[in-house]
Symmetry: C2
Subunit: 305 residues, 2 copies
Amino acid sequence: MKSLSEEQKARLRHYLNDRKALIDQRLREYFPPIDGPAAVISEAMTYSLFAGGKRLRPILCMASASIVGGLEENVLPVACALECIHTYSLIHDDLPAMDDDDLRRGKPTNHKVFGDAIALLSGDGLLTEAFRLMAEAPSLECKSAAILLEVIRLVTRAAGCHGMIGGQVADILSEGKKVEFSVVEFIHRHKTAALIRASVLAGVLLGGGTGQQTDALGSYGEKIGLAFQISDDILDIEGDSITMGKAAGADDKKGKATYPALLGLEKAKSIQTKLVDDAVEHLGQFGERAEPLELIARYIIERKK
Amino acid sequence: MKSLSEEQKARLRHYLNDRKALIDQRLREYFPPIDGPAAVISEAMTYSLFAGGKRLRPILCMASASIVGGLEENVLPVACALECIHTYSLIHDDLPAMDDDDLRRGKPTNHKVFGDAIALLSGDGLLTEAFRLMAEAPSLECKSAAILLEVIRLVTRAAGCHGMIGGQVADILSEGKKVEFSVVEFIHRHKTAALIRASVLAGVLLGGGTGQQTDALGSYGEKIGLAFQISDDILDIEGDSITMGKAAGADDKKGKATYPALLGLEKAKSIQTKLVDDAVEHLGQFGERAEPLELIARYIIERKK
């Protein structure tokens, strides 16, 4: 696989930064401070929403809408909802009842700042508000109401107990145990790839993609989702705690079921490279318009945090 | 206020049991056992879903659809979703990070059986699946897709950080403190009344109610929601632990902000009676068809658990 050239890296940085700015601005609008006895919930939710996330899922949603001819602007409510779901999952994942992590992206985790109860509720809040954002996305025409419902169905399947939550359950249950490769694959496919794939497919649906485009981009999303989780696990071994903003080596300490732990670093890296190459191949039909999604796929391997 | 006659009690019992059976059957269909590494999540979700809930919210949704001329059968997916949201809120509420309760409806709480991590995730799962059920409710016509989106908006507002979650935040923050009456009212209005009101209004929307019917039934829902929370708090003082299936006196021990704690039992009871009388008055326009909703309102005061 080709590495990204300096020029490509600069183009990708520019692309990601532009969209991150749009997403951040929109998220600020969606989550203004709340007055009254429950004011702290908006502080807690926005604390984690603005704790330095890469906005990978919303950017994938926007890029996928665009590649099939839709307007990025139109998918922003759904894109932001996907970031809310991702953020809720991190807040709950970090709780003492789950992974018990103190640091995330270089900052104290939500419960370290707001306490366990408010952290739990702010995760619940972000998950609920995510569906509000999706349901409130402008739907003046009858057709888009039906499509929004389809997007909600897609996202709930990816985030629910047959998707992300199922993956987290298997992840927790596998800690400290010797598990089969099929279980590690189940965890990655559900815990991480499902929501990343759904982010891509939500963009395709909202952008008006054809069945063929949906198939190709669904496969792309699935493969980069798996590659993303593998790179997370590789970074946990090879990465630098300061750059990542969280303690390296945490997976090993907890006995997490990961590709590198089960197959070794080299094998994990070669699977990852193959996944990204396959993902890029699925973009063939889109020609030059595929560049953002191709660069994002390649960046997954090269990222340092 | 008139007490319920024995005949009315029998009619209400029959009415509630019939609907409870339909809801339970549908919930079983919606949550079949899951195979694979995450199988325990479906056990944990159904454990709490079938731990003896009264199904008040889904029954209110069905009764409200019916009173405006809709079919109860058609609102079952949304009705079941409301029960999932209620159940998730109880599971999270019982966690050590929140109220730390060991017993609910006479059974060990979810985390006592499945551990904190799985309990947390099963709450997340029920919340997510609730939106799946709503989005998957049959919507063959364009009109019903738009209405389902409106129902989702209504429910997210009632369950989110401007509704139930906001109420829970204020509830947690007020524990052991002397708070103003306005804060207690805020807690009850948000923590309990919001979702009960939304359950009524979801039925009205799906049943095709008019604006005038929506106004009247929205007020009905708000008032019985507040009355329901007051009866919960009165039961915590006067109730019998065995009948209720949870420890009486828990609110007092935790220093919870309740109507009886702030105003005394007699004043709390007179407010509750007034709320139920007002709620029933809002049913005036419906004539005889209002009987189920009227009986439910009166039952709120007389219930023992």
